[in-house]
């Protein structure tokens, strides 16, 4: 039974990657289990400056998922490097995935340049699709030209594998994927959250102070699976699949659709042991579906 996969030249012991924004810098989860069982994890979205994020409420429950409008709360790249990563190093000993957000190409470039110098960062995942910030990430990820420009700019300042995280809120996600591929992306990850809204019937106001938020959770799985398959067929670089993955079965399905590795997001918030349990379940589920090596099934849907 072979669970390891290779993502842009770095071997992962297994394809499971907690998604950015659902796993902090790992140390809360390290109190629960040895997080070195993970393939890797993608740490909280990092911006140039300290960000508080959006006002609360930032969370709204939905059928099969939740809306969030956290708004990229993070201490800023300098303190991430000086304060958070040293704490992370005490509990995690594998190459980690850094997640970067920005509101201008300059900001993306500056943050990526700084993270490029951090040795234990294995990949840089560039979020061009965060739907929560007004005038922010959204615009880059929904236009192939802008998406290509960000990719081109950050490509110049790092040799580390670049994973561009794509927005599903577009007419044709393969267009965006091809644009970032042609500007030097080493991989794409998808899907980020769908834009959603809920209204509080008592107050007649949106539940989220930000009005809208990003929808994630098992509800989005079929939408994610379709987009992963479409993008897998459109580009040559690897695809990191995510969106509603909640079980080892879902991981196999996502890999058959075309994912080389699989990020798990919302499920970490519902069951803090989710990633550990999925990793433990994988060999059993692989046996059930007669899979010897996970790499054999990537994009294997007939």
């Amino acid at each position: 039974m072979e669970l390891s996969v290779n993502l842009c030249g770095i071997t992962l012991d297994n394809p499971i990657i907690p998604a950015s924004g659902t796993f902090g810098y790992g140390y809360e989860f390290a109190e629960l289990y040895d997080i070195n069982v993970l393939g890797t994890f993608s740490f909280k979205g990092t911006t140039r400056e300290t960000r508080y994020g959006n006002p609360t409420p930032r969370i709204a429950e939905c059928t099969g998922g939740l809306l969030n409008a956290v708004g990229l709360q993070n201490p800023g790249v300098d303190r991430v490097i000086s304060e958070e990563l040293p704490k992370m190093r005490q509990v995690f000993h594998k190459p980690v995935m850094a997640n970067v957000s920005g509101f201008s190409i300059d900001e993306y470039v500056e943050v990526v340049s700084k993270l490029d110098k951090v040795e234990d960062i294995g990949w840089i995942e560039v979020n061009i699709s965060c739907p929560n910030v007004h005038g922010g990430g959204m615009s880059f990820g929904t236009d192939p030209v802008c998406a290509g420009e960000v990719t081109k700019a950050v490509r110049r300042v790092t040799e580390k594998p670049l994973v561009i995280k794509l927005s599903p809120n577009v007419t044709d996600i393969t267009q965006i994927a091809r644009a970032v591929e042609s500007e030097g992306a080493d991989a794409v990850s998808l899907i980020n959250t769908l834009v959603g809204m809920r209204i509080n019937l008592n107050t007649r106001k949106p539940i989220l102070a930000n009005r809208t938020g990003g929808f994630s959770g098992s509800a989005v799985f079929p939408v994610a699976l379709n987009m992963v398959n479409k993008v897998y067929n459109a580009v040559k670089i690897p695809v990191v699949g995510m969106g509603g993955v909640s079980s080892a079965e879902d991981v196999l399905e996502m890999m058959m659709a075309g994912a080389t590795a699989v990020e798990i997001g919302s499920m970490n918030l519902v069951n803090p042991y989710a990633c550990k349990e999925i990793i433990e379940d994988l060999p059993k589920v692989m046996a059930k579906y007669r899979v010897d090596k996970l790499t054999d099934i990537i994009g294997g849907v007939i």
Binding site: T22, E31, T56, E61, L269, V270, P272
Partner: protein
Amino acid sequence: MKKSIFSIISNEPLTSNVYKMTLRGDCSDITRAGQFVNIALDGMYLRRPISVCDVEGDVLTIIYKVVGKGTRYLSTLTEGELDILTGLGNGYDTTPSGDAPLLIGGGVGVPPMYNLAKRLIGEGKRVRVILGFNTSSEVFYREQFARLGAEVYVTTVDGSEGIRGFVTDAIRDLEYTYFYACGPEPMLKALHKASATSGQLSFEERMGCGFGACMGCTCETLTGYKRICKEGPVMLKEEILWN
């Protein structure tokens, strides 16, 4: 934090929409009054955070108000098992209480005061408790607090039981060394202003995970950003920044 399976012992209404549930399970991670548990419910994506009312050995008591789908469903359960995260939140620190702490609970802010009162009485403190409600039919746990040995004052907005008015109307004539409060935000804000001593106040917010991972419930304080679920829900009077 611990994730474990609890079995329901009982689940009974205390008022028309407030229920008391007792459960048996591993309570070893519940170390302070004012902490909460986070309960997975069939058909709900997110867990439901509920404050701990009491812990005795492996028996957990929670008191909750039916406010939506999740708590309505919870109120229908009388047996079976629940997947619960325990030991969440910082809880109340009894160290600075002094000899005569004052405990103030409003509505579903009453339950965490019960275990706190028990602990403080166990530490030999003179405990006075103010329980604030809208009207007499909403009053619960008055006798339970009395049985612990606390001096209990009840306030109702309409005056149908105890002192007429708000909890702030009851604290005016009392002397106390410290205060602990839990209740709706307007009550906490009023207490923050009206209280004569330092104290600790417990806050609510819509949560994603309940254990510090998602940053869904962050608030700003005078000592920086805090997660209600992790560095809270209990805040020091001195650090609170009202918005």
